[in-house]
């Protein structure tokens, strides 16, 4: 397998582990399925394989889907209204320090 595919596979697995509630990797049906597909298309790496191109595109799309959702949630949780912020939180947000903080 070429370097690009291996990298995207790794990223995809790490994103799935992030959302999955299964503790073991082997228990996740989705991971099993993805590994099976990657192994299946491995043999045809030397040829111009339409199916492999499509698989790569689907994998990168799914990776983008999971990454975007994780980042969206992170930004949302940081800024979503939780009531008034304390002085320290506000100062941290804009990169200021409080008078009694050490420099």
């Amino acid at each position: 397998m070429s370097q690009g595919i291996v990298r995207s596979l790794r990223q995809l697995l790490s994103e799935i582990r992030h959302i999955s509630s299964e503790k073991k990797r082997q228990d996740s049906l989705l991971i099993k399925y993805i590994m099976m597909q990657f192994h299946k298309h491995k043999e045809t790496d030397q040829q111009l394989c339409k199916a492999q191109e499509e698989m790569k595109f689907l994998a990168s799309s799914y990776l983008c889907y999971l990454q975007s959702q994780r980042r969206y949630e992170a930004i949302y949780n940081q800024y979503h209204a939780k009531g008034e912020r304390s002085v320290r939180e506000t100062a941290d947000m804009v990169g200021f320090k409080l008078p009694h903080d050490t420099k």
Binding site: Y33, M36, F57, S60, Y62, Y72, I75
Partner: protein
């Protein structure tokens, strides 16, 4: 102010307690605005999985089968899509945030078809969006933005015209681009070759990107999802590069558009009978 107060029917509330509760949050005491929050239901299952039967797939939450909002069986033809939907339900940690579950949402829409649309209705709606396609409106002044638009959008537009054998030209004034009927016919024919589920995905993608051309380029694998979203937000990126970028507006919007487009593209590909999906099905049965 009284008019904005939500009316509570105790009898109604009793039915709604499981799925939705109301709370009034006093976020803006000065403007006296009332916000009604529908609380997301808590996660009520431990394991998610899929069931296989008749070459079709269903989602299970513990022992229960997932149903669509209208109560019909949630049956999906593609195995990877079923797995992705199950993973999406598994990803809901404390509460079930249905607004972020785009793949499940797309499946539910296709199963229930709440607006009772036919395939040709949807295709006509998509073709109608071509008149106001983002890529076809370029800056009317000869400025930096125009240069960027020429540099970024023109290659995509050229590829698109060549791929489908159509004529499209970007407009620079308020009257908008002129698109001949022939072009619309060609694209209508192309879209009609997809199945009903995939067309739902197209409609979702076009609404996220505000561009039929970019959606088709992305589905055809000419540009990646990140690139398509960047091109669709080109003016916003340009302006925020000049005036400053605000994380909770620009980045949030970018990530959400990416997630929506990625869901749409996945949905279209997994519901189209391409070689890849067919080979998977054969593989799954052996």
């Amino acid at each position: 102010m009284l008019n904005t107060f939500p009316v509570f029917y105790p009898s109604l509330l009793r039915f709604k307690t499981v799925s939705a509760t109301f709370s009034i949050k006093k976020c803006y005491p000065s403007s006296l605005t009332l916000i009604r929050h529908y609380a997301a239901p808590k996660r009520f299952y431990r394991k998610t999985g899929i069931l296989r039967g008749d070459g079709k797939f269903e989602i299970t939450l513990d022992q229960r089968k997932l149903k669509s909002p209208k109560g019909s069986p949630f049956v999906i033809e593609s195995e990877p899509l079923a797995l992705a939907v199950a993973a999406e339900w598994d990803a809901q940690k404390g509460k079930i945030q249905q607004s972020s579950m785009h793949l499940s949402g797309l499946c539910s829409t296709a199963i229930d078809n709440p607006n009772k649309l036919t395939k040709s209705d949807l295709v006509q709606h998509i073709i109608g969006c071509l008149d106001t396609d983002t890529v076809l409106y370029q800056s009317s002044e000869a400025d930096e933005l125009y240069e960027q638009q020429i540099q970024e959008w023109d290659p995509v537009l050229k590829w698109f015209c060549k791929r489908y054998g159509v004529k499209l030209e970007a407009a620079r004034d308020i009257s908008g681009p002129i698109i001949d009927q022939e072009t619309k016919n060609v694209l209508t024919k192309h879209l009609l070759s997809y199945n009903f589920w995939a067309i739902h995905g197209f409609s979702f993608g076009v609404e996220a990107l505000k561009s039929v051309i970019l959606t088709l380029c992305c589905v055809e694998r000419y540009i990646s999802i990140e690139k398509a979203v960047l091109l669709s937000r080109l003016e916003e990126e340009f302006q925020s590069g000049y005036w400053g970028r605000v994380e909770w507006a620009h980045d949030l919007n970018q990530q959400e558009t990416q997630a929506r487009l990625a869901a749409a593209v996945l949905f279209i590909h997994l519901n189209s009978s391409s070689t890849f999906v067919q080979s998977k099905k054969r593989f799954a049965t052996t």
